[in-house]
Amino acid sequence: MGTRAGSRLTQIVKKHEAAIVAEWIKEQLAAVKAADRISEADLREDCERFLSLFNAALQSGAGEDIAAAPWTETRDMLSGLSRARAKAGYKPAETAVFVLALKLPLFDRLRSEIGGDAQGLADEVWATTVVLDRLALFTTEVYQTGREEVILRQQQEMLELSTPVVQVWDNILALPLIGTLDSARTQVVMENLLQRIVETGAAIAIIDITGVPTVDTLVAQHLLKTVAAARLMGADCIISGIRPQIAQTIVHLGVELSTVVTKATLADAFIIALQKTGAAIGRSPKA
């Protein structure tokens, strides 16, 4: 059945192409809620292109195996469409409907053309369904990967964005941490900090945790690891920006921070750092 499938379908599609496209578009617009986002002209172009590629693939006798070579162009076209829709914020169902909505007009045509031959009609309908379902699943798959890529990229950007290491004075670095510290972020923070210590030859690093919403034992452990690594490189660390609630949590959790210099504010930490590096800041007499 595989090779025969679509033999009649291709003829029917050729014969009624315009009508099928019109009905198909109507189906799609009805199924997609945010129909105003789709321009009908673009959709028509996509549909016509898909239908011609679909027909060409069917004609080549590739049958239902959409991984086969004759389907390559159709697959490329669909994956382009899915990716574009994933980026534009379509839902997965709204993406798959592009293919699935084709079923109704196709079945209608099949019925009107070969309705007399029940056996033949069932065969054709089944073959068409199989192919279209596979193509629809394919769009969903591509849509999913597109979405995952977006998420991955965002995660990467967040990691890079959220861990700046700032040189505030000769030999003094500041590392304002914002957001929750998990293992992956700690790793990035640690690497950035150590790299900057090497580059700038800094003797003191101030880790400011004002922007860290919660400190649990794991976060504290990560902080201590960072401090220990910096110390191994020969730089002292000061932890600043400890809010009252955080101080309470740390003590309640029994986290041992006594090996590290801690200060309530970044300003206090900065003064200590200046003293340690032998620098001083004062007001000019005029002020």
């Binding site: 790793q187 690497e191 090497v198 030859g201 003797a203 020969g234």
Partner: protein, 130 residues
């Protein structure tokens, strides 16, 4: 047999580890260094590990041990030039070398050694010994 050279500079000993350490080499260094500290009556040891790229728990522990032994022999020890990757590895291995003094580079390490010697020998008996 390959050995890590130990250089004497005034009352300091300088050790620069330029090859990847293996266990045997670390043991040899430990023997040689303790010998030399006693023989040269060294007051400070500077270990430069800026070329060391790979550490395991054994080498990490050896570095800590060597520093501790030098301290027992009354020589201030400072480990300088640890690479970021090595520092991260040691911390992940749970070896944060609590007793070891560290510095970013040789310059700062020497400064640290001199400062700590000045601190411990304010009475000038250092000059008499030399």
């Amino acid at each position: 047999m390959e050995r890590i050279p130990i250089l004497k500079m005034n009352e300091f000993l300088l050790v620069s580890i330029q090859v990847d350490m293996h266990d045997r080499l670390a043991m040899t260094l430990q023997d040689d260094l303790t010998d030399r500290i006693v023989r040269d009556r060294a007051r400070g040891v500077l270990i430069d590990i800026s070329s060391l790229e790979i550490v395991d728990s054994f080498i990490g522990r050896m570095i800590g041990n060597i520093a501790a032994m030098s301290r027992v022999l009354d020589a201030e020890t400072v480990v300088v030039g640890m690479r970021p990757a090595v520092a991260i590895t040691l911390v992940e291995l749970g070896l944060s070398l609590p007793g070891v003094r560290t510095s970013l580079n040789v310059d700062k390490g020497m400064e640290l050694l001199r400062a700590s010697l000045r601190g411990s020998n304010g009475d000038g008996h250092r000059d008499a010994r030399r």
